[in-house]
């Protein structure tokens, strides 16, 4: 189980959180290809990855996590930025 530090509440067990995946900004205007990429395409890298989690059973706020997908090590957690990091 991951130990995730919510930037608002401190370290909590993974079961308190929900995964949000990579943050992707919704396009203002979109042709089929852009819309398809917004809906379905997310990067799936091996190594450090910037993703979003929500503290579902806590403060219910979204935040940003940098995690290594090869080791599950959590590199840092920060408050949600606008626009979210990791947008294509």
């Amino acid at each position: 189980m991951l130990l995730i530090t919510c930037p608002y509440c401190g370290p909590r067990e993974e079961t308190e959180f929900r995964y949000g995946g990579e943050g992707v900004a919704m396009p203002e205007e979109a042709d089929d290809r852009t819309w398809s990429r917004f809906l379905y395409y997310r990067s799936s890298p091996a190594g450090p990855f910037t993703e979003r989690w929500v503290h579902a059973h806590g403060c219910r706020r979204w935040f940003t996590v940098r995690r290594d997908t090869l080791t599950h090590e959590i590199l840092d957690t920060t408050e949600l930025e606008e626009p979210p990091r990791g947008s294509p």
Binding site: L2, Y19, L39, S43, E51, L70
Partner: protein, 405 residues
């Protein structure tokens, strides 16, 4: 080639040195890669074929699955695909002259809510219309078919019935790997272990070869079959795929006397159980839904799975946990595979089988071999193209995945 892991007995398959060029190079020496190589050599006029595997053959999801085989999918595109796979399984041991212990012991998918009952009955009708065997069982019939299932009304999610596919079952995953590797090698396919693809030689948007840890290899066509690692491979060729790679966990108990005569799945409680021939209870769990290549998951997922198993099968309460593992599954947005062309000429992809790739082993190779040989999809995988995520013609199989991953 000094590492002990690569020193397979020569009667299984040859360990040749890489040649400088092949007609078709398949990247990924798992079950799908080996199956593709076998059918390519058997069914098509392709002279030189290589399978490139970065580790040793079958070291990924081939040995990290729960070996369940069924064909009771829901969509018009999926049903014939998985049904052909089941038919190929039925003759695979004879065809490969190697017993893969395919055992059609029957597969039950339990329904615990009114919605699940309706969905299961709909699947029964859809399957029958497509010539796939399917039956609906009432709770008492479930009990009769599989006596250890708890059909009491007093549990949190009582069993309201089940979908039964009598032709469903299990096979021995490692034997399938040995059988396919042996048969492919005998037909002249070069199985190259310890041969990691590090890049693609792409000229004027056409792939002409691969760079590997054992040197450059020219290729007429390249087929990716890397399961969870396919997004990483594709990115080396400059291609993005709508695939998320996440861990899917499973566990096995120590050996028990025979207690479970069928494969039993529960989507709502999220546990699926079968008893291996050595007596171990093999159980599958939920996905950890975060991106990972670590081949391990979270403890709480196993805990939920065991809780569900004990409610459904109280008799398993005295079993001991022997081993747990996780495979990295390549999940597509509509829970259906992506098989066909990519934006790069002569580079093909077969991925996105997600949590259900083992059952598809024969058909995946069968249709992918056709696609690689002709440069065009087989009739059965035409709808499973990468372009469906732009046209919107998705093949939504989330509901039919038996357990909703």
């Amino acid at each position: 080639m000094t590492e002990p892991a690569f020193q397979n007995p020569e009667f299984l398959w040859r360990n040749p040195e890489p040649k400088s060029a092949y007609d078709v190079v398949i990247v990924g020496g798992g079950l799908h890669g080996l199956s593709t190589a076998y059918y390519l050599a058997k069914n098509h006029d392709v002279k030189s074929i290589a399978v490139l595997e970065r580790g040793w053959l079958g070291n990924g999801n081939a040995v990290r699955n729960t070996t369940i085989i069924r064909s009771n999918y829901l969509r018009d595109e999926s049903m014939p695909l998985y049904e052909l796979s089941l038919k190929l399984w039925e003759s695979l041991s004879a065809e490969l002259e190697y017993d893969v212990l395919f055992d059609q012991r029957g597969l039950l998918q339990l329904a615990h809510t009114k919605t699940e009952v309706n969905d299961a009955r709909r699947t029964v009708y859809a399957n029958r219309l497509s010539g796939i065997d399917a039956e609906w069982l009432e709770p008492a019939e479930v009990q009769e078919f599989c006596p250890i299932v708890n059909v009491s009304r007093s549990i949190r999610y009582p069993v309201l019935g089940a979908l039964l596919q009598r032709r469903g079952g299990i096979a021995r995953h490692d034997l399938v790997m040995f059988a396919l590797a042996r048969a492919a090698s005998a037909k002249g396919v070069d199985l190259l272990q310890g041969c990691e693809v590090t890049g693609f030689d792409i000229r004027k948007n056409r792939v002409v070869g691969v760079e590997t840890s054992r040197g450059k290899i020219a290729a007429g066509r390249v087929g990716l079959a890397g399961a969870g690692r396919t997004p990483l491979l594709a990115r080396m060729a400059g291609i993005d795929l709508p695939i998320q790679s996440t861990p899917l966990q499973a566990l096995v108990s120590d050996g028990l006397e025979p207690v479970l005569n069928a494969v039993v799945m529960s989507g709502l409680l999220h546990v699926y159980v079968s008893q291996a021939r050595n007596g171990g209870l093999v159980m599958g769990a939920a996905r950890d839904n975060y991106v990972s290549y670590a081949q391990r998951g979270s403890f709480q997922i196993l805990e939920w799975q065991i809780q569900a198993a004990l409610e459904l099968y109280p008799v398993l309460g005295r079993a001991h946990l022997l081993r747990t593992w996780a495979g990295i599954v390549d999940v597509s947005p509509d829970a259906s595979p992506i098989i066909g062309r990519t934006p790069v000429e002569s580079l093909f992809v077969n991925c996105g089988w997600g949590t259900g790739g083992f059952k598809a082993t024969p058909v995946s190779g069968f249709i992918y071999a056709h696609t690689l040989a002709h440069g065009e999809p087989h009739e059965l995988n035409r709808a499973f193209s990468l372009s469906r995520f732009e046209t919107g013609a998705l093949i939504d199989e989330h509901g039919a995945a038996a357990v909703a991953h």
